[in-house]
Structures are given as C-alpha cells and as structure tokens.
Amino acid sequence: MIKISRIFSSLMILLGIYVIFTAKQFPAGTNGVLGPGFFPILLGVLLIALSIIQIVHTRHDKVEENEKTDPATIKRILISALIIIAYMVFINILGFLISTPMFLFSIMFYFGVRKKSTLILTSLVTTAVLYFVFLKFLSVSLPTGIFF
C-alpha cells in the first residue's frame, strides 16, 4: 500500500506540467525585470523533478503505517464529508441559527451518540455560544440564509 504518495506525486507532475504551460503564456517582464511567469515555471520544474525522485524512492520504501485504510473507514470518512457538505449547503439556505443545530445533531448521531440530553444540549448550547460570540460580541455577521 504505497499508493497514496505515488498517486499524489504523479498528480504533482501533472500539476507541474500544467503550471509551466500556463505560465509560458504570461506576459514577459520588461527592462530585465522578471515577469509574472518566472516563478511559476521555476517552481513547476522543481516540483516535477522532486515528484519523480519521490516516485522512484517509494519503490524501495516499505509500507508506511499511516497508509493502511480499510473500506469501512473510507466509507465513514466519505459519509462524514457528505454531512459537512450538506451543512455548507443548508447554512446558505436556512442560515446559521437553524442549520447548525441540525448539523450537530445529525453528525453526533452518526458518530454514535445516543444520549438525548447530550445530543440536544450540545447542539443548542454550541449554536447559542457561537451566535453570541460572533454576532453580539465581535459583531461579525454569520450566514443568514436566503429567507431572512
């Protein structure tokens, strides 16, 4: 399972190529002053070189302990990510005050919290505290949703 670092390094090579080709089209600098494309190209070349070294190296590397992942964990991460995405969508529609307790309640439930008092109290108290700190104390506005 040396996959992740190899896949990632290959992606980095592609990124490097993309950056170099895009930066080639940037306007050139004038009077010996470097243009906006100089650094992107330099970084692109370095990134490609290092990624190749990394790919060659990983062949000899032993399995890194962090990279062990079983399908159940991946599923769990994906579902958690989906709940967060849902929260990010709902916060723009329903606003902070409604979507935050909903999010907290559902994700805690998914994580296996079953005690009703914990579920309800944590959801409501966290929302209230954040609302007070951000809106009242620091007067930073929070997403209000499209209805209010």
Partner: protein, 322 residues
C-alpha cells in the same frame, strides 16, 4: 429521523411566510436590518468611519445597521458582491476611489456605473511626498532633478494598477519626467520604504505620511487637491503650481445596486447627511482627521465620471488596460 424531517418542514414554512410578508411591505423603508458592505478589511480608515456612522444611523432609521467587511483583490471582491446584491435599499456598498482603478486593470463584471451613487461623505487627497534629505525642496526643483536623472527617481506605490500607481503615473506624465514605479503590498509599506530611504517619493494621503513628516524623515512638496490641506497650510496645491489636472479624490461614499427605487435612495441619502452632520459624527471626524465632504448622489456621480476618464487614459498609457 422522522421528527427531524417534520421540524425541517415546519421551519421552512415559517421561513417562507416571513419572506412573503417582507415583500408586501416594500413601500415603507426601512422595515428590516440594513447591511453596509465594506470592500476593505476591519480596522482601516474606511471601516472605522462606517462603523462609527452605523450607530447613529441605526437610531435614526429605527432598524439595525450591520457592517460587513468583504476585503480582497484591491476591493474588487466587495464591489462585485455589492453590485450583485438585491436592489431594495437594504444592501448598501461603501464606494471607494479603488472602484475607479480596479476596474481598469482587472477582469471584473462591475464598474462604478453598476451602482446608483447615494452620497459622498468623506474625501481625502494625495500628496507628493519625498525623503527629507532629498536635494530638492519644491516641485520645480524636483522636476529639474528628475529630468537630469531620468529613470532614477523611484515612486513607491501600493501595487501595479493600484490607486497610488495611477496617481504617481499621472504625476510623472503631467510633469513630463521619467520615473521608476516600485510596487509594494500597500500604501503603508510604500511609506515605510520611503522612511527607510529605499524609494524617493510616494503619492499617498497626508494622514499616511503624517507620522514620517513629523519625525523629520519625509517632506511634502505638493498636495493634489482643489485647495490646500488644513494640516499642511504651507504646501502648495498642484493647481497653484500649474498642473490643474492633478486633482484626485480619494473618496468614501455609499452606493446601492442599479434598480433601487428612487424614494429609497433619497431616504438613505437624507439619513447619511443627517448622521454626517450630527454633533457626534462631526466630533468624531474632527478628532480623527477625516475631512467631511458631503456630496449628493448626482454630484458624486459626476465626479466619478470625470476621474474615471483620467484613470482610463492612464491605464492605456501604462499598458495596463485589461
């Protein structure tokens, strides 16, 4: 899960009914909180002025006034957000001089004409400030020096295409001198470089160089204003020196998206004028060195039209036109 769905349904219904109610009451203004978008970050000169005004404004209009900072990309992010807000008068954008410059260099979907100008409240003007130990003390001496050393005199600015770049380029072009423009991250950083002797001149407001002038590290040769600045009574204006085109207003005003009802714009403009002339804000502006400059929406619009033209010409000359 069932309970949650039920709750969700209930909440949505309530929300919708509140929404419908709001629509019906459009005739009266304001009936709900007003939001002022500031396209620069919290803690700066614009932010402090608008936040100071928001308190009395709330008392006058009887509705909360929320101040929201949307900084970034030379104020373009805030302007873009403000221009696409609902045209109902509840979304006000603070209009700054950057509105005229950022549109020249960046590929943006708004211009100063995307807003109905409500009014102007404060105007500052640029200066030509040089190092205190420079061998010139007047504008003619400065020009003579720059002509004798073409390309050697460096002007610090707040980034290519930023307002101070445009103004210093206009200065160089009007005076017929060749200078090097050194871009910094902001006006303050450019002033720091002037104080350290790393650039020869900057064109920024009197407040921004005040500290360095008082400390004897910088001197002001001219102000680019219609009249002399109260804090620099001995410094001539560029107009007095024979450069009537060198007047640039660093304005702070308010605008609303195109399509906002006329009576709403009028209500807002009157409210801003009343607040601006209230003893509280008058005292605030005096103490904190803001120059009060109320202009009606029409005057404000005309001024922007005049200056926008100059910046547009400048952008072509500098090869920055997008």
């Amino acid at each position: 899960m069932k309970k949650m769905l039920l709750a969700l349904l209930l909440i949505t219904t309530i929300a919708f009914s509140a929404f419908a109610q709001g629509d019906a009451e459009q005739a009266k203004f304001p009936t709900k909180p007003i939001t002022i978008t500031i396209p620069v970050s919290a803690g700066g000169g614009t932010d402090l002025l608008v936040r100071a005004m928001s308190g009395p404004l709330k008392d006058l209009l009887g509705q909360p006034v929320n101040v929201v900072n949307k900084p970034g990309a030379g104020a373009a992010i805030g302007f873009a957000a403000g221009a696409s807000d609902k045209a109902d008068g509840y979304s006000v954008t603070s209009m700054l001089a950057e509105l005229l410059t950022v549109t020249q260099v960046a590929d943006v979907n708004f211009s100063y004409q995307s807003f109905i100008p409500v009014c102007n409240v404060n105007s500052e003007y640029a200066t030509i400030t040089v190092r205190a130990d420079a061998p010139y003390n007047t504008i003619p001496e400065f020009i003579a020096y720059a002509k004798a050393h073409p390309g050697e005199v460096s002007f610090g600015n707040s980034g290519v295409g930023g307002i101070w770049h445009f103004i210093s380029a206009a200065v160089a072009s009007e005076m017929g001198i060749e200078v090097t423009h050194v871009p910094f991250e902001g006006g303050g950083t450019a002033v720091t470089a002037l104080a350290g002797g790393h650039v020869d001149a900057v064109c920024v407001t009197p407040q921004e160089v005040e500290v360095q002038v008082k400390a004897g590290r910088a001197k002001v040769l001219a102000v680019l204003a219609p009249e002399r600045h109260f804090s620099l009574p001995d410094v001539p204006t560029a107009t007095e020196l024979g450069y009537p085109n060198l007047v640039f207003t660093i304005f702070r005003g308010f605008g609303v998206p195109l399509g906002t009802p006329e009576n709403v714009v009028k209500t807002l403009s009157d409210a801003f004028e009343t607040v601006l002339n209230s003893p509280e804000i008058t005292k605030f502006m005096e103490e904190k060195h803001y120059t009060k400059d109320f202009k009606t929406g029409a005057d404000f619009g005309a001024q922007m039209a005049r200056e926008e033209k100059i910046y547009a010409d400048m952008a072509v000359q500098l090869g920055l036109k997008k």
